[in-house]
């Protein structure tokens, strides 16, 4: 059973002032498995936040269905095992950090006896224990993100929906949050990560989906996403030799005295390239599939779909 399942999900906002409709989600179908860290990418206005809000029942879909642990968002029980960090959180300003966590615990239905100890543990985890008794109206953006992550974790949920969790957080804090995410992965939590920081998603996510103008334009593992099909990087002592490979095997994209990049008609042809280099008495140091950063792959995918990058 998928932890999260969406089928033909659509959300259209009718704007009377602009006399036009805005399509936030357009037939999105996807399934997220338990224990998976799932990155949700897309340019601004692609529908990422709307997708998370539909999962939570905060926004009503126009058409389509969505379930969390087989329950629809209209059923409050579907949120019993969900923790959510909203984008730009504005928590009740009259509450202290500790008060916010206590309220979150009560709303989550936690036993009263457990709330205090859990809140103390999470305040230490997100390094907000020094600010526990300060009202949230005095918190900086980064502090709001930290306390937001803590309140999302309050009920020890199985599923975490994090919308831009490192937005406004300093580099040290980002590393700390990444460590928290990795620890949660080890605990088998399902995490949906909506972030503009693609290096961050690449570091922790198992799979990613790209949304563009509300449409799901690609979904695959990070490995597949960042790997260039049948492109290899060969480190070798090439020197000034002139190398050529037959067209039916592939072609050399770039070459220097110590390295070359080849694009082959299929992956198996790398063996022919290795044989050819040995024949030419070229000493091979390493052969590896060519990878690009998630950011570059994302930009190429979005550009191919005709949408602007963030």
């Amino acid at each position: 059973m998928a932890a999260i399942e969406a089928k033909d999900l659509a959300k259209v906002y009718d704007s009377f002032r602009r006399k036009r409709s805005i399509v936030a989600l357009d037939g999105v179908t996807l399934a997220i498995e338990p224990g998976e860290i799932f990155g949700l990418l897309g340019p601004n206005g692609a529908g990422k936040t709307t997708f998370l809000k539909v999962l939570l029942g905060i926004t009503q879909p126009t058409t389509g269905t969505v379930t969390i642990a087989n329950l629809p968002p209209s059923d409050p029980r579907s949120r019993e095992e969900i923790g959510y960090l909203p984008e730009n959180p504005h928590f009740p300003p009259y509450l202290t950090g500790l008060g916010l966590l206590e309220l979150a615990g009560r709303l989550q239905g936690m036993p009263r006896a457990d709330i205090g100890s859990r809140a103390d543990h999470l305040l230490a985890l997100v390094e907000m224990d020094r600010w526990a008794n300060v009202k949230t109206r005095k918190y900086s953006k980064g502090m709001l993100q930290r306390i937001g992550l803590a309140q999302a974790l309050m009920g020890d949920p199985d599923v975490l929906l994090l919308d831009e969790p490192t937005d406004g957080i300093d580099p040290v804090g980002k590393v700390a949050i990444r460590q928290v995410l990795e620890r949660l992965r080890e605990e088998g939590k399902t995490i949906v990560l909506n972030s503009h920081l693609l290096s961050e998603v690449e570091a922790v996510a198992d799979r990613v989906a790209i949304l563009s103008r509300g449409k799901l334009i690609r979904i695959s593992s990070v490995e597949e996403f960042t790997r260039r099909a049948s492109q290899f990087e060969v480190e070798a002592d090439i020197g000034n030799q002139i190398l050529e490979i037959p067209q039916d095997i592939g072609k050399i994209i770039s070459i220097s005295t110590r390295q070359m990049t080849v694009e082959l008609t299929n992956d198996e042809n790398i063996n022919h390239v290795i044989d050819y280099l040995r024949l030419k008495k070229v000493s091979i140091r390493s052969v590896r599939p060519l990878k690009v950063s998630l950011e570059r792959s994302f930009l190429e995918t979005v550009a191919a779909s005709g949408e602007n990058a963030p």
Partner: protein
């Protein structure tokens, strides 16, 4: 409770309005303590105890009634933006992402606000009344009708501003709607006079419909005053029809809230 009602207590003490309530109570208490009761009894015949007591408690009852009216007025102003603020972007996400139904969330919030501000109204009113009793030496259980009915009046206004706040998501709009309803109910209490001024019978019927549909907190206040002074009540219709309006207002607020996207 799910924590929302308790949340209302924390929110209440964080707001500056608490000082306004304290200031109003202090001012009213000062007036009650410093005023000199001047009682001149003309001994020109037999003294009837009942009208005498009524005459003596009238200023006390009227004063307490006026004080509680101000408290309800301030409470409406203070609470008009509480529900719209809960529904602002970012804050609504926090509440709505928890495993609690929207119906429960909204009704808990309204209940919490009513309890906290109602308790403030009763505590401030009791303080004033006790001081007045100590000063004047007159105690009357009838005064407690004023507390009970002003809590009902506050509940009616709270349902109005809740419904207006959920639909418009604006505290200012909620106050405006409450003001329009207050003006309308005040005007409708003179509907017979309006019709006599030259209106047609159909206008009279229309005004009658509005009169029976809209809440009548003004008439409930008069009814409470009458009960506090030990008079009989001619009709409970203003209470029933106003409570019905309040219930419908809350149902509308819940239905709209359940359908809205945030």
């Amino acid at each position: 409770m799910n924590g929302i009602a308790r949340d209302s207590v924390v929110e209440f003490f964080d707001r500056k309005f608490v000082y306004v309530f304290i200031a109003l109570t202090t001012l009213a208490s000062a007036v009650a303590v410093l005023s000199q009761p001047e009682i001149h009894v003309r001994m020109d015949g037999g003294l009837d105890a009942a009208p005498m007591a009524d005459w003596l408690r009238n200023p006390v009852t009227k004063g307490l009634s006026l004080f509680l009216w101000f408290m309800v007025f301030l409470s409406v102003l203070a609470t008009a933006d509480l529900v719209p603020q809960m529904l602002t972007r970012g804050r609504a996400d926090f509440y709505l992402s928890k495993p609690i139904s929207r119906t429960s969330l909204l009704l808990s919030k309204v209940f919490g606000i009513w309890c906290v501000y109602g308790a403030t109204l009763v505590i401030c009113g009791l303080m004033l009344y006790i001081l007045t009793v100590l000063r004047q030496g007159l105690f009357d259980w009838g005064a407690f009708y004023l507390f009970a009915f002003n809590l009902v009046i506050f509940f009616i206004w709270l349902s109005v501003i809740t419904a207006a706040g959920v639909i418009s998501r604006s505290g200012g709009m909620a106050i405006l709607v409450a003001a329009v309803i207050w003006a309308a109910q005040a005007l409708l209490s003179f509907r017979e006079g309006i019709v006599n001024l030259g209106g047609s019978k159909s206008l009279g019927r229309v005004l009658d419909v509005f009169y029976y549909v809209l809440p009548k907190p003004g008439e409930i206040g008069e009814l409470a005053d009458a009960l506090a002074l030990g008079h009989a009540v001619a009709s409970w219709q203003p209470v029933y029809s106003s409570l019905l309006f309040a219930a419908v207002g809350l149902i509308v607020a819940v239905v709209v809230f359940k359908r809205q996207s945030y």
